[in-house]
Symmetry: C2
């Protein structure tokens, strides 16, 4: 090859590969394709697919958090894999199999630490967000013999803290990692039997764990940890079931709109309405099936609800001012997850058995785009980078 040919080749290479058109990252997201262990990178301004990213392992029950600059996605796989994906290049920037079996993760307030909650071995591992090197290992030990408990319901909270629950131990732990070399862990014991999932309110104040082993929810006010964990919604849980429970609802799926939380009932065709001032139930709405996710539109004016099998072909929209069903949609079988655009003009919905993601205009409730995806499940937009507890 002559020098000018080489230079032409170099120019073309730089132009084609090194020099992709610059792109901002505020309107990006990923759709989890659980069956194929892949992600589809999407953008929400024109509702298009950008690229497929493969090789992420077992993505059943996968979740995603984002770096504070909205460049990197951290993907938590069921097989213990923690994968860092570069949203600009569409490439895997790092990957580690950090445990045998994991159930979710969180990113610290300042974006420097990524934490993963593990079933096997039970505990939380905390990684450097840049390098994925292990920074802190927190085994979830309990009892006189120091057994390890499965860890669930891991969230971030202000003040560089992570909060999580120990399933077998029946404990809630708050880990302050403002000095990562000296983690300060506060343990709350006897919070209830078998916490199985949890949420933190959007302001990072109330941590609420669901209990598999008994009724009610365990709540910790992180503004007043000295008050300890108290029980709310005494009758909430499997005890009130009148129907077989096809799927325990996701607690992250609570919608908080104004003064009320809209909470999926367990095993019943109901959404509970809870006053967040008193944490008392004030009403119930009869719905189409057993609710799984109850997602609040960012302005709080509506909540969108999907359902467990065999009703997972239906989505209902609840008007939060009237507590009534405003609309019933039939998007197709296997509606698994929904994500609003950050200011709420659109909702994206995974319809697994149709192999599509549907995009709705929330004002008209009309479908405005249909995108192909392989058995899509979770949808996560980069705007989560700027939120507490997501």
């Amino acid at each position: 090859m002559r020098i000018d040919q080489l230079l032409v080749a170099t120019v073309l290479t730089v132009m084609l590969t090194g020099c992709a058109a610059p792109r901002a990252t505020g309107d990006l997201g990923v759709v989890v394709e659980r069956a194929s262990g892949s992600l589809t990178l999407v953008e929400t301004t024109n509702q298009t697919l950008l690229q497929r990213i493969e090789g992420l392992g077992d993505l059943s029950h996968a979740s995603v958090v984002y770096s504070r600059d909205e460049r990197f996605a951290y993907v938590f796989g069921r097989d213990g894999g923690l994968t860092k994906v570069d949203m600009l290049s569409g490439r895997i920037a790092g990957r580690t199999i950090q445990s045998g079996n994991s159930i979710g993760g969180a990113i610290s307030q300042d974006g420097s630490l990524v934490a993963v909650s593990n079933y096997e071995p039970g505990g939380v591992k905390v990684f450097d967000a840049d390098t994925l090197e292990l920074v802190v290992d927190i085994p979830a030990t309990y009892g006189e013999e120091g057994q390890l408990s499965k860890v669930v319901g891991l969230v971030d909270a202000p003040g560089q803290r992570f909060v999580f629950s120990l399933f077998e131990a029946g404990e809630i732990w708050v880990a302050d990692l403002s000095q990562p070399d000296k983690p300060q862990i506060t343990r709350f014991k006897d919070i209830g039997r078998e916490p199985y999932d949890a949420l933190v309110t959007p302001d990072g104040r109330y941590y609420i764990a669901g209990l598999f082993g008994e009724d009610g929810l365990a709540m910790l006010d992180l503004w007043h940890p000295e008050q300890g964990v108290r029980r709310i919604l005494d009758h909430y849980g499997r005890g009130e079931q009148k129907l077989p429970v096809y799927k325990m609802p996701h607690l992250e799926g609570w919608a908080i709109a104004g003064d009320y939380a809209f909470v999926p009932a367990v095993g019943r065709h109901e959404v509970l309405i809870v006053d967040v001032g008193t944490w008392q139930e004030v009403d119930r709405i009869e719905v189409h099936g057993q609710p799984v996710f109850v997602m609040g539109r960012p302005d709080g004016r509506e909540v969108w609800v999907n359902y467990a099998f065999p009703d997972n072909d239906t989505v209902q929209i609840i008007d939060t001012a009237s507590f009534r069903i405003a609309e019933t949609l039939k998007p197709g079988k296997g509606v698994l997850h929904m994500e609003f655009t950050p200011r709420g003009e659109h909702l994206w919905m995974s319809v697994r058995d149709e192999d599509v993601v549907r995009v709705y205009d929330t004002r008209t409730r009309q479908e405005i785009a249909t995108l192909p995806a392989e058995k899509p499940s979770g949808i996560f937009f980069t705007a989560r980078a700027h939120r507490i507890g997501l």
Copy 2:
């Protein structure tokens, strides 16, 4: 020049200019330098200055909104200039002098429209966010002779709406631009004398205008516009002043934390605490000076307050759980504006007379970075792209 020299030059050009290292945009922002009509582009992960951008005209009282992908800043100048800045290249991507005198702007829920509120000629002009072409012109006509009113307090609201107030007319208008060629305008008359500024609550529900010509505030519940505008906080305003008013406080500076709004008193050394359920005042906190901005940390646990001249060398931090002053800082003379990072770990503060921007760790309240800037005023981070009403 020989072909290989040309190619070398081309390669170098592509590498040096066309091929800047890719960068995400979630951690970017601008600092307004009012005296020099420039912006300084900053990033909040490592707290550094990236670049100065000049040629933006009169930036006194300037404000900024962002495109939904966090790539473009729209800068509203006092001289009627609307400038579109590319945060990736640091270049001006478009600029139009759209009026003689303007006072702020907003971007529509879907990011397609940018609206500017004008004093001269009084009205709102709405531009295509891509091209800056005029899409809709809304003259603020009132009275039998069709005079034009100055427009203030322009905000975006869900449903592709803009809400704004007419100073001389004493009206609030809601413009629904979901069909830009058929704008639907709803006028609320006799809302009070001389509305001078306004805010919308973070959920986009309550639009609240301050009145210069009388006491009290005018509130419109956008969930129930049929109920009309009602008066709240009857005694709020200049009527309660005991001291000369050095600066009317900014209403966008209200902090809403949990059940309470923290509201700068007018002409008094007080911050009012208002129950947002009833919109009644429940308490007052004595503070160091006449408050200008009362900014809520994103988790609502603290509000940071700056003051009008001659107390503008002081910032106080109010604990929203105890309603007490938690700390008094002396950052230097001319503290004009503050901005929290989206998850609240840091606060950035413009100290005009010291020609610096100070960055504080909100957990330790220690200054962690000091950046030079020319007479800095407003600070705006790209995370605003994802919020309602900012």
